[in-house]
Symmetry: C2
């Protein structure tokens, strides 16, 4: 972990991710206050932990580049991945409840994050209703994400899970103005398999099957969607009721 710039001068106004990050919905003056609360930008190297289970909550992190995986583990070392956090995503809200983190967050690559100290953030929350609301919204998104994953793990078969996942990436990319039908997965198969609740071999076979069916093209982590309607067909079959897809946290590499 390397501290890149101390104290002032993080400029959300100049950050291309601000529309998806904490500043979303804040007024200019509120934003300035928030910027002051951001103490520094930090680099985490690949495999480094941003925080671990039971660590006291220090900060909320905004991913600037790279990728972070969040997971919970069993005593035996079994690991369930809960989500992947990509540029523009915020993480660390899991500790808002008890002041301690309830999951592990590990960098998948060298990762740059903005660090917002919770103490500062808390003070601002007392002052600005908008920020308070924004925090709530973030925690709500966390819950929503979990619900979708639960629906996936509990009700879908493996092929549908993968299709749903690919669709969610594609949709996220669309939101951000990235390619809808071609992207690199930021995570190795083993983590994706854990996230989707299946064995690595099964995941690999499902990729192969989708490819054999002419729906996607797979080359290692590069995915090209060839028949997006078919993919939606596989996924949509068991996609959540409410029509309009909300912003999904899980994603691409540009």
């Amino acid at each position: 972990m390397t501290i890149l710039n101390k104290k002032p001068r993080v400029e959300c106004g100049n950050c291309s991710l601000s529309a998806f990050c904490l500043p979303q919905g804040l007024t200019k003056s509120e934003l300035e206050q928030v910027e002051l609360a951001i103490e520094r930008t930090i680099k985490f190297s690949k495999k480094e932990y941003l925080f671990r289970c039971n660590d006291p909550q220090r900060a909320i992190y905004a991913v600037k580049s790279g990728a972070v995986k969040v997971s919970v583990s069993t005593v035996e070392g079994g690991e369930q991945i809960l989500g992947f956090y990509l540029p523009g995503d915020l993480l660390g809200f899991d500790a808002m409840a008890r002041g301690e983190h309830i999951c592990d967050a590990q960098a998948l690559d060298d990762t740059l994050v903005c660090e917002m100290k919770v103490d500062n953030l808390d003070k601002l929350c007392a002052e600005f209703a908008t920020l308070r609301q924004q925090m709530m919204r973030q925690m709500g998104q966390e819950i929503e994400r979990d619900h979708k994953l639960l629906l996936s793990l509990g009700q879908m078969r493996t092929e549908e899970r993968l299709a749903t996942f690919l669709v969610s990436i594609s949709e996220r990319n669309k939101l951000r103005g990235f390619a809808v039908c071609e992207f690199n997965l930021p995570m190795p198969r083993i983590y994706l398999a854990s996230y989707l609740g299946m064995a690595v071999e099964t995941l690999s076979r499902m990729f192969s099957r989708l490819q054999a069916d002419g729906i996607i093209k797979v080359k290692q982590r590069l995915i090209i969607i060839e028949d997006i309607d078919a993919l939606y067909g596989l996924a949509h079959r068991n996609c959540q009721k409410e029509a309009e897809a909300g912003a999904e946290t899980i994603n691409f590499t540009p």
Copy 2:
């Protein structure tokens, strides 16, 4: 849905559940304010919905008696149950993010709840840091619950899931001073099966297997734990790392 008492006079101070409910951790004067915010007590009949997906958030509900199941559904009618809420539990926080509920809440039995209008609650939140924190804690518990279920669905086999579930009920009962080794499940098999991500038949077989092994005794919804160590053995194998079990939402009937 029947409104039982209008406007004032819900008395948290006299309620036996207050230690587990919203008042937890509030000072006396704060509590009085909260009591004023509680508009009324409502009865929902069996199968009635407290709220449905996409409904605007009206209130937070505290279960006084009965039981509520919360779930999300797929377009095809597949239903994933996310949790069961029992006396002392609070629900409705899923809508804090977008102002609309993102899941369905249905009464499993005739159910009495205290209704706290969010408008009032929001005002109080601006005023009292404690209450704000308490709200955060509730949302955090929601997240924690989801994480545990994800770990269960993603990493455990059916027998372990059931064992883990039974253990969590037993522990919750201990916390509330109820019987640790004998309780009635408040939900039918079909809902429990959905919650645990398995077919009803599989759930039934697992109950039978645990009974055959002399670990529990099953008579419809009455469960008697005969060998709690063995049950822990089956569950603990894949129980979450952090040792001390937090309050779990999911439970018994006295």
